[in-house]
């Protein structure tokens, strides 16, 4: 593809890039992420995976995958559930973007896109009774693109393909393979440009968290406070928030209760998980727990907080290029009994344009859900903790974002812990 795409984060650069959070507006006098080089790097990563599997190419419709492979974006939340645009990535050469009919202009000037064509949708809302006809047209397009770009290879990866399309594509003589595997592995190792972009997005996220911390006072609703993170994200060019994991008081236990119009009281813990798709599409996935004054936290709140910090620090310490997922599971921090049943669903997971491969599970979940693999330099992981006793009155959620390096890790999230709850 291009020699401008470094395969790894250079060790000497890691600390500088990871701590810098560049400005994103025009500034010719400062080093900034090089978007063109980032797109080239990402496309090369996808194409290396395609070649590794001997695929002629891949059709991708998940907007996170389309963004990764091409650098284009269009109605990203809507197209998360409505397959209204696709891209084709050949094993070599430029991509073909099958764009929403009226949005052809959005990819102008994006050099990874060789060609932009209108997408013929075959989801029910646009096809009505003509669904099979449209799906057939889609299958014919797939076959003709693969014929033109596959060099005789008819092995093709798809990240999403419903049964009607699957049958029709196979009838065209195309062999269908798993596209998510291709994309998740391609996306897992980040370039310095990506780390620079991610730290910028994390700075925006920290700014939003700081606004929530500053605004927090008894009498506000959860929704009012949570809206500040939304506002900050969108104002700075971010995308959306994936969940509404913001809870206060008794609603912090068990975890996974969603933000509501509950009024926050003095003495409440307020816990949240940002799950924010921020500027440039970078996912900022960090969790914090605040204590609502007036008054001091209880001894139990402080003890739980201490445990959560300990769990995070212990598990961060396991990160290093070359370490296996299974080894991390085996060595991961074990929460004591009243807290173990309510433990978070995993020890850590990859993060990039969204939550990504790999997911590294807790010890007791290894047999049902665990899978092995190896940490590589340049992976970014979210390290999780939830501490709340079964039937307890509240709980603590913390989560940090870290870059895997040759010698260990570099923390990317920087928002301070809650002083009143520490120690």
């Amino acid at each position: 593809m291009t020699d401008a795409a470094p395969a790894r984060v250079a060790p000497a650069d890691v600390h500088e890039v990871a701590r810098r959070s560049p400005s994103m507006t025009l500034a010719e006098h400062e080093r900034q992420p090089d978007m063109k080089r980032m797109r080239a790097y990402r496309l090369a990563r996808v194409q290396a995976e395609l070649k590794r599997h001997d695929y002629a190419g891949g059709f991708f419709c998940d907007p996170f995958n389309v963004r990764y492979a091409t650098g284009t974006r269009n109605m990203a939340v809507w197209t998360s559930h409505v397959p209204a645009r696709y891209c084709f990535v050949p094993a070599e050469g430029k991509t073909i973007l099958f764009e929403f009919r009226s949005s052809q202009h959005l990819a102008n000037g994006i050099e990874t896109v060789g060609e932009c064509r209108p997408f013929i949708g075959w989801y029910y809302m646009t096809t009505g009774v003509r669904q099979e006809e449209k799906a057939r047209a889609f299958a014919k397009t797939v076959a003709s693109v693969v014929n033109d770009h596959g060099g005789g290879n008819r092995r093709v990866a798809f990240d999403r393909l419903d049964p009607l399309g699957l049958d029709l594509v196979r009838a065209e003589g195309i062999e269908v393979f798993e596209g998510e595997e291709v994309m998740q592995h391609a996306r897992s190792v980040k370039s310095p440009d990506e780390i620079a972009g991610l730290t910028h997005a994390l700075a925006v996220c920290d700014g939003g968290i700081a606004r929530m911390r500053e605004a927090l006072k008894p009498g506000m609703t959860e929704n009012e406070l949570w809206a500040l993170l939304h506002e900050t994200n969108i104002r700075h060019g971010g995308e959306c928030i994936e969940t509404r994991l913001f809870a206060s008081g008794g609603r912090t236990n068990p975890w996974f209760q969603e933000c509501s119009d509950r009024v926050i009281r003095p003495g409440d813990l307020v816990a949240f998980d940002t799950d924010m798709i921020g500027p440039m599409g970078f996912c900022c996935d960090i969790s914090r727990t605040f204590h609502t004054g007036p008054g001091k936290p209880t001894a139990e709140q402080r003890q739980m907080y201490g445990l959560a910090v300990e769990q995070i620090q212990h598990n961060l310490g396991l990160l290093k290029a070359g370490v296996g997922f299974r080894e991390i599971t085996e060595k991961s921090f074990s929460l004591p009994e009243p807290y173990y049943p309510n433990r978070y669903a995993n020890v850590m997971h990859g993060v990039g344009l969204a939550d990504e491969w790999p997911v590294i599970v807790n010890r007791s979940d290894w047999d049902t859900r665990g899978y092995d693999g190896i940490l590589e330099e340049g992976m970014v992981l979210s390290v999780e903790s939830y501490v709340g006793a079964t039937g307890g009155t509240d709980g603590i959620k913390l989560e940090e974002c870290a870059l895997v390096t040759r010698d260990g890790y570099q923390l990317l999230s920087t928002f301070p812990y809650e002083e009143r709850l520490v120690g």
Binding site: Y124, M125, W226
Partner: protein
């Protein structure tokens, strides 16, 4: 009929009244169950969180779930509803009378299952087959899906099940709304309009597009809404062509600002209305006023021709005719259905008839009636859109936010 009341299926009600949430859930569940019978399928399995919510009202990490098939619901033909929920989240849906049982979801997308995807898909298929046969007998075969990737399709085939497309039956089910749904949707619209009022207050020269859009996003979150499906706000030259996404362009005096709310609001109901506003500091240009007048005329003419029993092709025939110069960039849709998100039907302008499908407008549908007016190469474009309910007497507007009178 009292002032503000609307009549649906022979009964008048006040759309501003609070919905009966239990009745709302029961109505939606029964719509899905009836569709299963009509289409002769033994069960439907739904992954899209919007569809899960329609079928049983369970909600959890919705935006994440739009692109990660991490939870699903299986409703069998007898109406039994098994929710397969994300780990440790059972507490979110225990109170729902539309959920008969909650089990842990078997995730087989690559991030969650890694190299074990085939085995996880097998476990998923065996459990679905067991549920379906327990409720529907050993002859149960045809199972409807809203999405199903190849690994899952293969695993189901191994269990002797036949996947069929579930969106056709589900979209028809969703298209007809109950009075409670209209009440919930009206509440969502009023909250969105509160957001629009805040946006109008913040709208002035010097604010960036995305800072203005952030006002609506924050209002939606603060007032208990869900998420924004798109980021369709643009200003000045960026309003033409349409579909530019909001960015850091700084809005100038006299710019048109055009936007399309496309949000999923309170109760999970969508509010999809569009407006174009003049930015203070300059008089409107003749071009701006002309385009706004055309868009206003197009939307209101088209609202006037919507009546139950009319076919989509008849509506297309009678639809407003924009001047030739505005046709190349006109909206493809005259109107589209709306509920928990954009849905069936899509009624397409005659200029795009080749790709269109026919159908019949029915009482109880809610439609968004669209217009985009801007000439190719023009300096601006106007986007207007209204949300209307189809009653026996014709279309009734549910959206009430005023148009910019400086442009009329």
């Amino acid at each position: 009929m009292a002032k503000g009341a609307v009549e649906l299926f022979g009964t008048a009600f006040d759309p501003a009244a609070a919905p009966d949430t239990k009745a709302l859930r029961a109505y939606r569940r029964d719509r899905v169950r009836a569709a299963l019978a009509t289409h002769d399928v033994a069960a439907i399995v739904l992954f899209n969180p919007v569809n899960i919510r329609y079928a049983c009202d369970a909600r959890n990490m919705q935006v994440y779930g739009l692109h990660n098939p991490c939870r699903y619901v299986c409703m069998t033909a007898d109406g039994h509803t098994a929710l397969f929920e994300f780990r440790n989240c059972e507490h979110l849906s225990r109170h729902l009378e539309t959920v008969d049982e909650i089990r842990p979801a078997r995730a087989w997308y690559h991030m969650a299952a890694g190299p074990n995807a085939a085995a996880a898909a097998g476990a998923f298929a065996r459990e679905i087959a067991a549920v379906v046969r327990e409720r529907g007998g050993s002859g149960a075969r045809r199972i409807a899906f809203d999405r199903l990737d190849p690994a899952g399709a293969a695993a189901l085939a191994a269990e002797g099940l036949v996947p069929v497309d579930g969106l056709a039956l589900l979209d028809f089910a969703r298209a007809i709304k109950s009075a409670d749904e209209i009440k919930a949707m009206t509440d969502a619209i009023r909250a969105c309009e509160e957001g629009l009022a805040r946006m109008r207050d913040a709208h002035r020269p010097g604010i960036a597009e995305q800072a203005l859009w952030a006002v609506l996003c924050a209002a939606n979150a603060e007032l208990g809404g869900e998420w924004m499906e798109t980021r369709l706000l643009s200003a000045g030259q960026r309003t033409n062509p349409w579909y530019n996404e909001c960015g850091d362009y700084v809005i100038q005096p006299g710019d048109l600002v055009s936007f399309d709310t496309d949000l999923v609001g309170r109760h999970g109901y969508s509010v999809d209305i569009s407006r174009s506003w003049l930015t203070e500091g300059a008089h409107p240009t003749d071009e701006q006023r002309k385009l706004h007048a055309l868009a206003h005329a197009q939307v209101h003419h088209n609202i006037g021709i919507l009546r139950p029993g009319r076919s989509f092709s008849e509506i297309a025939e009678d639809a407003y005719r924009l001047p030739e110069a505005c046709v190349p960039q006109m909206n493809r849709a005259i109107a589209h259905g709306i509920g928990l998100c954009n849905e069936y039907p899509l009624i397409v302008n005659r200029e795009f008839a080749r790709g269109a499908y026919d159908g019949v407008l029915t009482e109880g549908m809610v439609l968004c009636v669209e217009s985009y007016v801007g000439e190719p190469g023009g300096r601006c474009g106007v986007k207007l859109e209204e949300q209307v309910l189809i009653t026996a007497g014709g279309a009734v507007k549910l959206s009430a936010f005023p148009f910019d009178d400086r442009l009329s």
